[in-house]
């Protein structure tokens, strides 16, 4: 539809609206139109505000224009993780640190300890007595009886819990929507010729990049003509045996399988190391040291700093040195490409450390925010100086789904389990921290519930706590209901797939001139979203035949 047609229609709609308005003096209709208009304007203004405040917009457009959407997805992922940390910082600082600073403005540091520069690297020394770590928080209820009271124990527990729950919800939501939009609908076999043609990246503006992509696309198209049928059947044979035939994947010519193999190995390695460290902290450190949460917090601080140094080293070796070797020493290697998978996995590992550290060091997100900020500019400079644009169009959308899934499953769930184990089972240290003297951290909630029980107005809260949160039957029933729903939806999905196959066959039959198939099939398919295309085509074929 051309612009003039759109303006014409808009003019007609406005004329109709003003005509209607002059006839109907209906207050309600007037109100509702004004309200809906206000909402739409509000939404437009909010998008505008979001765009102006958007961080790094110019830089990301530059990177996307030169290197394409595959490399841009790394920077988008970095920005998304940064938002998590900024939110965590705001929540922790606002609800935990500020009350602590108001009531105890000066930290009680033992004599003889002063700030030396080394603390920034080790996290110990001066920092271990400040609000940086768990040990720096008091366990008293702040404020006297007359003024409003602030229970530090409950604040600490609920802040960490609320942050984890919101993080989990955000991750699940983005994983589900990404999966639905980008993974399920994608072609399950090898990208056919159409996939290659439609994947042309219109946002690439650099001429050299465009030329290289054209070269690469040509090679891929040539391969598609020769290998397509063979490779498709081979994939359908091998994919179900993915895990048992790990070795076969090594020799596989499909680059996507190679990337998956790299990702799986990387994730297993990093998570095993973290798992062993966590086990050591939970078992040995918790029993040996007096203020063990701060010790764990310091260890995590050091891990975060060390990880940052290693990412910088990785940038140096992976990009700078490869560039030097590729251009000066061994010409055949050429300029390196930006390895998106490896870098995103580094980011996921860094974020796992931050999530584990939330409970032990409430201000760790500050370090993480600084680290991500520096990392963004470091990677951008390294990319511009050392790397060339990727020659083949990567499957950015599917890889993004996988990265979010890895961020959720081993990373977030692992961190959450460790924090949950600490809160539920381990006894907090009795000399420092907001939970000193209690049997477990969770006892604070129990004590609070007992207090509430004495007040009549809050009996409903106590009832919810005793019969919903602490009862096992509730969780059992919920799991059962969820399983039933999953089963029902799976049956619906399978039914629809069968329907699609039937409709496809019917289209071919109808267009080749045979009138077949009951018309009731068309009615049923009206409910099927993906079948709509087939229905339209079916009706078109029928009308062609009858015209």
């Amino acid at each position: 539809m051309s612009f003039d047609d759109k303006k014409h229609i808009r003019g007609q709609v406005l004329a109709l609206k003003s005509f209607k308005k002059s006839r109907q003096l209906n207050c309600f209709a007037d109100c509702s139109t004004t309200v809906s208009l206000a909402f739409r304007r509000c939404g437009a203004n909010m998008t505008l505000a979001k765009q102006t405040l958007e961080l790094w917009r110019g830089t990301m457009k530059e990177v996307g224009g030169k290197f394409g959407t595959g490399v841009l997805s790394y920077f988008k992922f970095l920005k998304w993780l940064l938002m998590f940390n900024i939110f965590s910082f705001l929540v922790n600082f606002g609800f935990i640190t500020i009350p602590q600073l108001i009531y105890h403005p000066t930290p009680d540091i033992p004599a003889g300890v002063s700030f030396k520069g080394l603390e920034i690297l080790t996290g110990a020394g001066y920092f271990s007595h400040t609000v940086m770590y768990y040990g720096g928080y008091s366990n008293k209820t702040q404020g006297t009886g007359g003024r409003s009271e602030y229970n530090m124990q409950l604040a600490y527990f609920f802040t960490v819990a609320a942050y984890m729950v919101l993080c989990g919800a955000a991750l699940i939501y983005s994983m589900a929507s990404s999966f639905r939009k980008k993974y399920v609908l994608a072609d399950s076999g090898l990208g056919g010729a159409w996939q290659l043609l439609c994947s042309w990246d219109f946002s690439v503006t650099n001429e050299k990049a465009v030329r290289q992509r054209k070269n690469n696309l040509r090679i891929q198209l040539k391969a598609a003509t020769l290998l397509l049928p063979f490779v498709v059947s081979l994939i359908n044979l091998v994919v179900p045996l993915f895990y048992s035939l790990f070795k076969k994947i090594e020799h596989y010519s499909n680059p996507r399988m190679q990337v998956y193999a790299i990702i799986v190995r990387n994730v297993i390695l990093k998570m095993s190391i973290l798992g062993i460290l966590c086990y050591y902290w939970m078992k040995d450190v918790a029993n040996t040291f007096s203020c063990w949460e701060s010790i764990v917090g310091q260890a995590l601080y050091r891990l975060v700093i060390m990880d940052f140094l290693f990412i910088m080293l990785g940038s140096f070796f992976g990009e700078f040195l490869s560039n030097v070797i590729g251009t000066k020493c061994i010409q055949s290697l050429g300029v390196p490409e930006f390895d998106v998978a490896r870098n995103v996995l580094d980011l996921i590992y860094a974020q796992t450390l931050a999530w584990i550290g939330i409970y032990f060091s409430p201000l760790l997100p500050v370090i993480q925010i600084i680290k991500f900020f520096i990392l963004f500019y470091l990677k951008k400079v390294s990319l511009t100086l050392n790397c060339q644009p990727p020659r083949r169009a990567g499957r950015a959308a599917q890889m993004q789904t996988i990265f979010i899934a890895i961020l959720f499953f081993p990373s977030f769930v692992g961190a959450l389990s460790m924090v949950a184990y600490t809160v539920w089972i381990l006894p907090p240290s009795d000399k420092c921290g907001p939970f000193r003297g209690l049997n477990t951290t969770f006892s604070a909630i129990q004590i609070w519930m007992d207090d509430l029980n004495r007040v009549d107005a809050f009996q409903w809260t106590v009832w919810i706590y005793q019969h919903v949160i602490r009862s096992e039957i509730f969780y059992f029933l919920i799991s059962l209901i969820i399983l039933v729903f999953i089963y029902i939806f799976r049956q619906i999905t399978q039914g629809r797939q069968l329907l699609i196959i039937l409709l496809r066959q019917q289209i071919v039959n109808v267009s080749s001139g045979e009138l077949s198939g009951p018309t009731c099939l068309v009615h049923q398919s009206c409910c099927v979203r993906s079948g709509c295309v087939y229905v339209m085509m079916l009706l078109k074929c029928r009308s062609n035949i009858f015209s």
């Binding site: 609908l185 219109f202 959308a397």
Partner: protein, 189 residues
């Protein structure tokens, strides 16, 4: 170029906001870039038209293999010369913007790929499409045999009613299975 004379009127701005997927800032930026393309005489004409060569000098379109087709599809000129008015330009940016829906993008992609403007993608259109994407010189093109094989693969994959051409519904169906399409079909100033 005087800034006051070439600024958009407020009512036009809100009208464009309602009729396209662009935000206010993007429309103002588009107006600025469009005015830079105008020659001095055209500036005072009520609805100036920029010739195709000038549009193709934009850095966002310069290296795009489909630049000429894009201009032809969005042009409303009677002479079919690919020249764009400001509203055509906004139409272009709106179809290629972040917030445009999959239906709009696939519709315009279909029109861009339809080289002979007959409403379907037949063998000739597909051949021109592949040549656009692989290169213009003789040694970068596919051989006739490879082209024939490729086109038959494409048709087998997407021609559902087996009539030898890909119509809009079949094209949209193929596109819906390609999740990278929405993020790749983007031009931002």
């Amino acid at each position: 170029m005087g800034t006051t004379a070439s600024q958009l009127r407020k009512d036009l701005l809100s009208e464009y906001q309602e009729l396209t997927f662009l935000t206010k800032q993007e429309i103002i930026l588009a107006h600025k870039r469009f005015s830079e393309l105008l020659s001095k005489e055209d500036r005072n004409v009520p609805t100036p038209r920029v010739p195709m060569e000038k549009v193709l000098s934009l850095p966002e379109l310069k290296s795009n293999p489909f630049r000429k087709r894009i201009c032809h599809v969005f042009s409303t000129s009677d002479m079919k010369d690919g020249s764009l008015t400001f509203e055509d330009f906004l139409d272009l940016l709106s179809a290629f913007s972040d917030s445009a829906t999959l239906e709009i993008k696939s519709h315009y992609a279909f029109r861009i790929f339809d080289f002979d403007d007959d409403g379907t993608l037949d063998g000739g259109d597909l051949e021109k499409l592949v040549n656009c994407l692989t290169g213009e010189t003789d040694d970068t093109r596919l051989t006739t045999e490879e082209m024939r094989q490729l086109i038959s693969n494409i048709l087998e994959e997407s021609d559902i009613d087996k009539d030898g051409t890909v119509n809009l519904s079949e094209f949209q169906h193929v596109i819906s299975r390609s999740p990278d399409f929405v993020s790749s079909f983007k031009i931002v100033l």
